[in-house]
Symmetry: C2
Subunit: 455 residues, 2 copies
């Protein structure tokens, strides 16, 4: 251990190497509270690419596992420490290196916070769409590691679609550059996308070239109340099936609405079974909003209220963004599912989730990016209550099984991490698992990069 | 040889195995006429996934190279036969299996022709954007193999962005399913994108789940004449830098304009140095078209003509699409560069290309997807004239070197194939090459899949 720390210190500044167990313990896990996490041997906070290369060379020489971390807002335990590992926190590499409106790219270090980048590009009339709920805390490096999504995805897609090129420090310390700075490019195999969503298990991202879009007009949100989640899902089918392109399309169930009201007294309609939020950010959203209002009414909405202004719209979005914290406040702990199903199976997914909640006697609130078919059932439980904790884990798993049976995936945007690791093979099957393991072995032959995650 | 053919016939219908040398010779190469091509031992035309699996198992057992082919409209020799190989033509697997407006996906076999799919989805109000110039002939499988682009990319991106999931027969005949049918999904490493653009060197795509968009309004095109390519490129900088989102932004240089007039008598302005075409497909394109007209005039345009109707717009697009055939008609052969540079380096790229044409005493016409920085200098030459052929190859290479020196890539959308193979390492560097070779070895340990292509 001392030898390892001595070797790390040989080329890192003193303040970049943390060994106090009280301090290093605080780096042990991300926001998936229910996942196993080990005790790091040391936490390193590099500021340069050369620092990261030194760390990886040292880790390779000492055969020590390395767990890359961003802001640790992840929801699958992908950033959780393993015992005696080096936690490699990228938060000090937080410079925006370039924003170029003509090329429509930003070049950033991995520790840049999503909201910081989003605001910086907005100042130049540009837009970086990916907007995970944790956007005020989470880092671009973490977003790349988990291929994270957000509310924007139904129109703008996920993080992966905005990563043009990467600098990656490999397990042995070599520096790999992937992709490009140009709008297009197909030279060789697409290594960039291989790293996106790989949860730090293939290499350490130290720089990213990101695609930007022109800033759209501010969106206007419509809120519709439904007597059942199934009716709301029928509206979603119609909205998407008729070619509308909402900038967001979100659902909150009754449990979520009540939780948000309890936390923030927002006066959301608690009697409704499902609130649907649809927004458009086109120059003239009125025709789309009117058409969507009609489709909601036809699907059984009891109340349809278009927001009159961007400010009113923002209030509705705040309610939506509060859902996770509000559900988390209901009980001591939560496990958040991330099942994405075909849009036409959403009703079955939500009805099935309600049945699972009833079967296990648990509170499971659901918010969902319904435009994408991506549901987040939030299982609320008390880990001190052993029986409830067991039921929570079982219901969490049963929700994934339901998603798979409906032709869906166990993870739409949160990643596999530790939480869903044993489920990955069920989704991918043996051939894909073997290929994935083969690729992992090419990039990390010693298995030191975030072991126990993804595969 | 007889043994191989016997083994193939054991599980393939008689008409699916072609051995007549006059017939198999016609499958020897794609449209990159100047690339080496071998003589196939046999051409197979499977109709089912099981056929493809049988072919790959047989190829593995006999250690025989397999060259997958679509419509052979590629421009880099990626589909060229190697000596004694099995040519695996996917053109008979040409069924559209599913078009779903709610999920916004199409599920297709690889031999479906791009235009056939585009028209089929249009009938349901949907849009499959990727539109290579060869869209009336080229297949979706070929598009996936080369990650091809087209005119739409400046707004809608390339083929890669529309591939959600794949079924791939691996070198040893196993069937791998990658990706998903859902709008989002991040379970495991992104194998889908690894196969897109891999030119059949990692596996044989036998099914694809493609993302669709709602059909946009028909686009309106504006044409602007410039006294120099540099002035046109300055307009491009301004158009893109100010946040416009054209549905296409194309340039034709004087050589291209003259060639199209010579072929089709379209009355294009031959005195102009560069014609810029910009289009918008929004519900109300007028404000964007007016703003772009102003930017063109400010950049020095001598004439700016917005098309009055979709029909007039279509005529301008026809002229643009005729550029390659028209330039090909100038001389016995052409070599088509595919250099993509940052938008702000376009003027330098085009001036440099003109200087190279002069230096080598050659006709090099340029059409370009300038909105993406993707230029297609077309080197026209007579292969029977040994000296001219040498100068053609040298100028072709010098254009790639220029692109790299300007921070660009050797291929924006046509792929590496045989034509640019020795250039790939120059662009990627040794670390990326090593990683790429490692991945190739995982998926094709015997090296039988399209050997000599890409890497």
């Amino acid at each position: 251990m001392d030898e390892l720390i001595g070797a790390l210190r040989a080329a890192l500044p003193a303040e970049a190497v943390l060994t106090d167990p009280d301090v290093t313990a605080s780096y042990a896990h991300d926001m998936a509270s229910f996942c196993e996490a080990g005790r790091p041997a040391v936490v390193v906070l590099p500021r340069t690419v050369e620092h990261v290369q030194h760390i990886m060379r040292t880790a390779t020489a000492h055969r020590v596992p390395v767990v890359p971390q961003g802001a640790r807002t992840g929801l699958s335990g992908a950033a959780n420490a393993s015992d005696d590992c080096i936690v490699l926190s990228l938060v000090k590499m937080d410079r925006i290196l370039e924003i170029d409106p003509v090329e429509r790219i930003a070049v950033v270090e991995p520790g840049v916070v999503n909201a910081v980048l989003s605001r910086a590009v907005a100042e130049q009339g540009l837009y970086y769409p990916p907007d995970p709920s944790s956007w005020e805390q989470c880092t671009i490096g973490g977003n790349i590691g988990t291929a994270s999504g957000g509310l924007c995805c139904v129109k703008y897609g996920v993080t992966a679609e905005y990563v043009l090129g990467l600098d990656v420090v490999l397990a042995d310390g070599r520096l790999l550059t992937t992709g490009r700075r140009t709008a297009k490019g197909v030279a060789g195999y697409d290594l960039t996308r291989l790293f996106v969503g790989s949860e730090g298990s293939l290499g350490v991202v130290v720089k990213a070239v990101l695609a930007l879009k022109p800033a759209p007009p501010q969106q206007l949100v419509l809120a519709a109340e439904f007597p059942s989640t199934a009716a709301a899902c029928e509206a979603v089918r119609e909205i998407m099936g008729r070619g509308h392109a909402p900038s967001l399309l979100e659902l909150m169930d009754r449990t979520s609405l009540q939780a948000v009201n309890a936390m923030a007294h927002m006066g959301l309609p608690e009697s409704t079974a499902a609130l649907l939020l649809a927004a458009f950010d086109t120059p003239d959203p009125a025709p789309d909003l009117a058409a969507v209002a009609e489709l909601c009414t036809a699907a059984g909405a009891t109340e349809v209220v278009p927001a009159d202004s961007p400010a009113e719209s923002e209030l509705l979005l705040q309610a939506r963004r509060l859902t996770l914290p509000a559900l988390e406040a209901l009980k001591a702990a939560t496990m958040i599912d991330d099942v994405c199903v075909p849009r036409s199976r959403l009703a079955a997914m939500l009805d099935g989730t309600a049945a699972i909640a009833e079967k296990y006697g648990l509170t499971i609130g659901v918010c969902a990016h319904v435009g994408d078919g991506n549901t987040h059932p939030v299982v609320c439980f008390d880990p001190a209550d052993e029986d409830e904790a067991r039921r929570a884990r079982e219901s969490f798993d049963e929700i994934m099984a339901l998603g798979l049976s409906l032709g869906g995936t166990i993870t739409g945007e949160h990643g596999v991490g530790v939480l869903k690791r044993e489920w990955l093979a069920r989704e991918l099957g043996p051939v894909a698992m073997e290929v994935q393991r083969g690729i992992k072995a090419v990039l990390d032959p010693l298995g030191i990069l975030n072991p126990g995650k993804v595969l």
